[in-house]
């Protein structure tokens, strides 16, 4: 199973390299077709959350954080979650990763309930969390190592991906000698090399300046369009979500639920330039309005809470 996935990654990659423009335009046509007749033959559902709820705090004073979230990620789909800070996005990932048990609701992976089960996803945490005593290449293969794939079977592939991530020359460096952006890229490659198909990325670019961020977005777009993994991606950044995703879920403030689900209609492979199309701007305006409203509400809520006690 593990082996198969890593094989897939490699095959898709070589395919994309081998017959560049022809294949890409074909894919583009296929995508446009799929976009217009969306329900023709949708990919199977990879991850499904239905009515997931989670509260923290004591029994006496529970703090409901996730108040019933339902969403889907199809195979090979890029799905973004946006929501105000503190709305429980990271918590949602912890639930999917089995670190926490939902109070109610179901989390299904490939149709099977996985509530509280660990080790089914590739994960990139909000902080890079690279191990300081491991070199970058040793860090990058950690997920595979934990899943029982020996290091020497992975290092070649790892080095190739590091090169794509602009990390060549740093294979043997320790994380503290890398810039924040490079550390995030290394953490991303680590998730990418996970033998599990679904990747959960928690605000991978949050620590970057605007310029580096947009560079990283293009980079991720390229890599994702090559590998076509199923991705669940958390961000605060509306433009980023629209640029990268097939589907965007907008979460409300605490306790969070899905406010809106938006299918992003732009064909793939995408270019940054789509950000200037009227369609994109309209979507962005809509989402910005929604988010502003939500942010205002949740601030009022929190303010009230603080005033009360």
């Amino acid at each position: 199973m593990n082996e198969r996935n890593s094989e897939d990654l490699r095959i898709q990659k070589t395919a994309a390299r081998a017959d560049g423009p022809v294949q890409t335009s074909q894919r583009k046509n296929a995508e446009t077709a799929a976009g217009t007749a969306s329900a023709a033959s949708p990919a199977p559902i990879k991850l499904e959350l239905s009515g997931v709820q989670k509260s923290f705090g004591s029994r006496r004073r529970p703090l409901p954080v996730i108040g019933g979230v339902s969403l889907q990620v199809r195979e090979g789909e890029f799905v973004s979650l946006i929501g105000p800070s503190g709305s429980g996005k990271s918590t949602l990932f912890h639930l999917i990763g089995g670190l926490l048990q939902p109070d109610s609701g179901e989390i299904r992976l490939d149709g099977r309930v996985i509530n509280g089960e660990r080790g089914h996803i590739g994960y990139m945490p909000q902080q890079p969390a690279l191990f300081p005593w491991r070199t970058i290449e040793e860090n990058v293969v950690l997920d595979r190592e934990v899943n029982g794939i020996p290091r020497r079977d992975t290092l070649d592939e790892a080095r190739r991906w590091m090169e794509r991530a602009g990390l060549s020359g740093f294979e043997r460096a320790y994380p503290h000698t890398l810039s924040g952006g490079m550390q995030q890229r290394a953490a991303f490659v680590r998730a990418l090399l996970s033998p599990h198909e679904l990747m959960c990325l928690d605000e991978p670019f949050s620590a970057l300046d605007a310029f580096t961020r947009s560079e990283m977005q293009t980079w991720l777009l390229d890599i994702w369009e090559e590998t076509r993994r199923s991705v669940l991606f958390v961000t605060h950044h509306i433009e980023e979500a629209l640029l990268l995703s097939d589907t965007v879920y907008v979460l409300s403030g605490r306790p969070s639920s899905v406010l809106r689900r938006i299918e992003v209609p732009f064909p793939r492979p995408r270019r940054e330039e789509i950000a200037e199309t009227p369609e994109f701007l309209a979507l962005r305006r809509e989402l910005t309005g929604l988010m502003k409203e939500e942010q205002r509400k949740s601030r009022a809520e929190n303010g009230g809470r603080a005033a009360r006690g």
Partner: protein, 266 residues
């Protein structure tokens, strides 16, 4: 970082205390001469050095014996400390039962147990190693357990999310994470172990620096006692450096000397 730059850097940080020690010795020499202090009360550094070189052979023999005892005791004591730390960390129930007792046990002066150990185990190597183990074990166990417990939460969550098993989390994350902390415990244990060895030799031995000191005390040979003290200091320093050297080889990624991530200003 090359060996030479390491050496230069080390030299640069080592010369001020070195000069301070020289200055202190000079002051001592001058004071003893100026006030005409009798040699059996306080010999001057020069007299001590002369006596040390005169009885170098016997001092060397005793030093080797103490060094051997110290090293065995240090290794055994640290190993036991580390083992206990690992066990208590991996078995939380055991930890909650024993950790408070472990802390309490430090109120028992280990040294005071030494005579008892001699009665039970005779005058051989075993009771001495037990004494050293008792003094070494605690700093190692506590610093290792602290290191394990302070494992970075994000890294821990990451390992759990990707499905790492308990033993993988321990081997790949908690143990390497605790190394800098463990080594600060080992450094303390290194100095303690020399002290433990000397005290064990005071109480019952036929050779070693501790035994030598007892012998010279009854002869009022203050100069020789000072020579022995100098040797004890040197042994402590030697072990300390040894631990630091091993730490350099083992701890990676700019986290040496108690620093967490990020350190190594250049």
């Amino acid at each position: 970082m090359s060996f030479r730059t390491t050496l230069t850097r080390w030299f640069r940080s080592a010369w001020p205390p070195f000069v301070a020690v020289l200055f202190f010795l000079a002051l001592w020499e001058a004071a003893v001469r100026f006030f005409g202090v009798e040699s059996w009360i306080l010999p001057s550094p020069g007299v001590i050095a002369q006596e040390a070189s005169r009885s170098a052979d016997s001092l060397w023999m005793h030093t080797l014996s103490t060094l051997r005892l110290t090293l065995i005791g240090f290794v055994v004591g640290s190993a036991v400390g580390l083992l206990v730390a690992c066990l208590l960390h991996l078995l939380p129930l055991l930890k909650s039962a024993l950790y408070p007792l472990l802390i309490l046990s430090q109120n028992v002066p280990t040294i005071a147990l030494a005579p008892l150990l001699m009665i039970w185990f005779g005058f051989g190597l075993l009771p001495k190693i037990i004494v050293i183990t008792l003094v070494c074990f605690f700093p190692v166990a506590v610093s290792a357990m602290d290191g394990f417990a302070q494992t970075d939460r994000t890294m821990l969550n990451y390992m759990r999310m990707i499905g790492a098993k308990r033993i993988q989390i321990f081997r790949k994350l908690e143990f390497p994470h605790a190394l800098p902390s463990l080594f600060s415990g080992l450094r303390i244990a290194a100095t303690y172990s020399v002290m433990g060895a000397v005290i064990a030799e005071w109480i019952g031995a036929q050779k070693g620096i501790g035994y030598y000191m007892i012998l010279q005390k009854s002869a009022f040979r203050t100069d020789r006692i000072f020579a022995a003290i100098a040797i004890i200091v040197a042994l402590s320093l030697l072990l300390f450096l040894l631990v630091t050297l091993v730490e350099r080889l083992v701890v990676r990624g700019g986290r040496r000397g108690g620093h967490k991530e990020g350190g190594d200003p250049r």
